[in-house]
Amino acid sequence: MRYLYKLLAVLVMSAVFSLPSLAVENNCQSCHADWEDEGGPASMWDGDIHKEVGLTCADCHGGDPTLEDMDEVRQGRSYVGVPKTVAIPNFCGRCHSDPSYMKKFNPSVATDQLDKYWTSIHGQLNEQGDAQAATCVSCHSVHSIQPAKIPSSSVYPMNLPGTCAECHANPIYMKPYDIPTDQYDKFVGSVHGRQLLEEEDLGAPACNDCHGNHGAAPPGLDNISAVCGTCHARQAMLFAESPHKEAYAKAKLPQCETCHSNHDIIQPIDEMVGVGEKAFCARCHDADSDSKGFETAAAISDLLDSLVRIERMAEATIDEAEIKGMSVDNERFALKDVRSALVESRTLIHSFDLEKVKPEAEKGMQLAAATHLRGLDIIEDYYFRRKGLAISTIIITLLAIVIWIKIKRFDNS
């Protein structure tokens, strides 16, 4: 019974909501829905942003939707039908590059997508008539286009890497272009990929945050730090003021990428700095030919190592005190400050200047040392408590014995 009511309600509601479209008489929709299998334009159309703002098939594909005969429609002057693949950008651009038209739907919407597209690698290939090159529909889908802020959209930040990967991770598809196809796999394991896809942090970058979206292209050698610097601003600023900027430009080395790589950026480790086996510095700065760079690298690395070591020591002391059941809340709080000094020191590495790293690292070391001493005091207090307990227990026990003797004495008398 309840079910019937629901059904009735749905029927009535859908009748009410479909009234306006009935009034326009959209024969495209009704005929295509009859002919097509699931997955055709007529069935995908629900949820498309264009439908939501009130557009119909004819607004893109032309033709007169009031006509019932297909052939008559095709002969109509306005009929466009299905655009050729290479023609799609201009097909969409008819509206999307027209600010006065777009304003009707969303006054703040961007209308520069097509212009940017022509600057992208995709757009340049398209101009050469390459039907394989991505067009609007490659990323946005054909008939179920949704804005990027909707979680089910193909260009929602968390879905975007998968969307790009549909072509870029396909070796057969990418074969004509002779570029790698492992970017997606690398990205998924990278610090950015994990933050975006596993932690679901929408602030973490997807492909487009570094490469651009409509103007997608790999960043140039010199402007990598500008790309990374949109988020890692401190590091970029420090790098820009460092001697490395000029040196890298001369040696044609990509800026951040030289040490951090690109798609598979991992959480940096301290061993990357210094002159050890895993260290990057020693690849260019060797002890004989470039003793100054070599020494600076070694000194910075030493500073970091000391800070990390002393931080661990303090942490271990506090842990021990905590395991002993002592409360160490204040000391844990101090350890947070040590940690932020360490993070700051690691950031300052990008100045490649010992004099900049040193004060911060030393500040952290002093704090860590003080915390370590506090921890030792707390552990000492733990033993002090037990000593105090022992003393008072002995005193109380002695008193008890005296009273026991007194009781015996009275019992005997």
């Binding site: 602030g203 008193l399 003797i405 004495r409």
Partner: protein, 152 residues
Amino acid sequence: MEKSSIKRRSFLNWFLGGGVIAWLGTVSYPVFKFMKPPEIPEADQSQVTACTFAELKASENKYKTFKFGRKLGIVVLLEGDQLRAYEATCTHLDCTVQYRPDLNILWCACHNGKYDMTGRNIAGPPPRPLEQWQTHHDEATDNIYVSKGEEV
């Protein structure tokens, strides 16, 4: 016999007295230590004094940082002597935000997150505005009190 018994008893009484005194000592030592107020003032968690209004007004960029329990806070003076206080922790990954004089914004160095002086997240990864605290300017003492009231 009689004498030694009396001697023993008086020895026992001395022992009893000494024991009681020692016991009182072990009890009163921690008690008096406990009663002595610690040097660190009691952390009044519901309200802190950030600074005085004059100090804030005299400061170059019209902002002051302060400690609120275990959190760092920042109090700013907006146009028209309007007071605002925020928890100086970025809403992205909990880094500490700082004032950037060149841009007149609150800035998180970790991932270039930017907040305007009203605490709104205006650029970068921060998903939300800064946590806002309540302020109260006491005219008599000129102190600015900050509290974590529920209504903001």
